[in-house]
Amino acid sequence: MLSADVSNETQFRSDLKAHQQGKTDYTAFCNNCAVSGIDKWEVRINHQMSCTYFDKAGNEILVEKIPL
């Protein structure tokens, strides 16, 4: 699966919200990530408790707080 070189944060936020609301499954979410230029995400189980989404260049596109 190849992710786009240029990220689209607005589209990604919308796709993430849809996924978190159960409107898309994991496979669809991954496809949407690729289209929006999301390269990977990282969960930090530390004092931050966050999930960060990165583009191919390693830029942070979105940081979400993980609810405890």
Partner: protein, 301 residues
């Protein structure tokens, strides 16, 4: 002044280990037996390959266990990956271990060991590496353990369940950090997913061949059942195919009070692609994440 302090902190591991070098020359010691000749059960498999940076400084070591479903792993296949870490100043021991039957893959692969033989081998290799640090010049206060796929499972289990290292008189606290990549961490969950998947026969042919026939054996072999002992910084990375296993493990870790775990989801790589990226690509974003994790934790002995 604040930026100067920040810069110094950022460079601290590099300063402690001498000038940062992009590319070290390497020296390799292959096929080292880690079991003494009176106790060796498999002359071919119970060996390790050591790849060391040529350096006047002591360097951290990564004990690395390759993948292969506990059944067809080969320490020699991990050498590209090992060399890439050694080139940036991280010694690597690619550890072989005895293997389980894998008739689901090839009917001829019908003999072998069961759990806990694999992890016992890795524990014995760890003890050997701990004892031989001075001889080979790596730093036994900066030992990391990691592995890919089944090797990721073994790395996590060895770091969490003290049973195996206790037998050798060393503590699991010898590990500075743990790096399981694309593994599975709950064997009953693994069995269930295979049972409900495209090839349900794998659940019995594969999982039972490796871990035995009963639920108690499955539970004992599951890192997730030892999370109350979480004490090492941990870096988990997973590919798209094995997302469920790491995600399940992550959710269980989040239920604990331990707060030093980093989980990276590489959704665009398949299981094989992530391993190939780590092993063969000159630039690998995921290898860089592992290197940063190690460099962020190393301390001068």
């Amino acid at each position: 002044m604040r930026s100067l302090i920040t810069l110094i902190i950022a460079l601290l591991p590099t300063m402690l280990y001498g000038q940062k070098q992009d590319s070290f020359d390497l020296v390799e010691f292959n096929d080292l037996p880690y079991v003494d000749k009176h106790n060796i059960a498999d002359e071919k498999l119970q060996r390790l390959n050591l790849v060391l940076p040529k350096s006047a400084e002591v360097f951290p070591i990564l004990i690395w266990i390759g993948g292969g479903a506990w059944s067809y792993g080969d320490r020699n296949q991990e050498m590209d990956l090992a060399r890439k870490f050694a080139k940036v100043g991280i010694a690597v021991a690619s550890v072989g271990h005895r293997l389980s039957p894998a008739t689901w893959r090839d009917p001829k692969l019908n003999t072998g060991v069961q759990h806990p033989a694999h992890i016992e081998d890795v524990a014995t290799a760890t003890k050997w590496l701990f004892d031989h640090a001075e001889k080979y010049g790596y730093d036994k206060t900066n030992i990391f353990i990691g592995g890919y796929s089944s090797g990721g499972h073994l790395a996590a289990l060895l770091a969490l369940d003290s049973t195996y290292l206790d037998k050798h008189g060393i503590s699991r606290t010898i590990f500075k950090g743990v790096i399981p990549i694309s593994g599975t961490y709950d064997i009953p969950h693994y069995y269930k997913i295979l049972k409900n998947g495209n090839r349900p026969e794998l659940a019995d042919l594969h999982v039972k061949a490796v871990f035995g026939n009963n639920e108690i054996d499955f539970l004992k072999a599951s890192p997730v059942n030892y999370l109350k002992y979480l004490s090492h910084p941990m870096l988990l990375i997973c590919d798209n195919n094995l997302y469920d296993y790491t995600n399940f493990f992550e959710e269980q870790i989040r239920q604990t009070s331990f707060r030093n775990v980093q989980v990276v989801y590489s959704y665009h790589f398949s299981h094989g692609e992530l391993w190939r990226d780590l092993s063969f690509n000159e630039k690998s974003r995921y290898r860089e994440i592992i290197i940063a994790f190690i460099h962020g934790l190393i301390q001068k002995c």
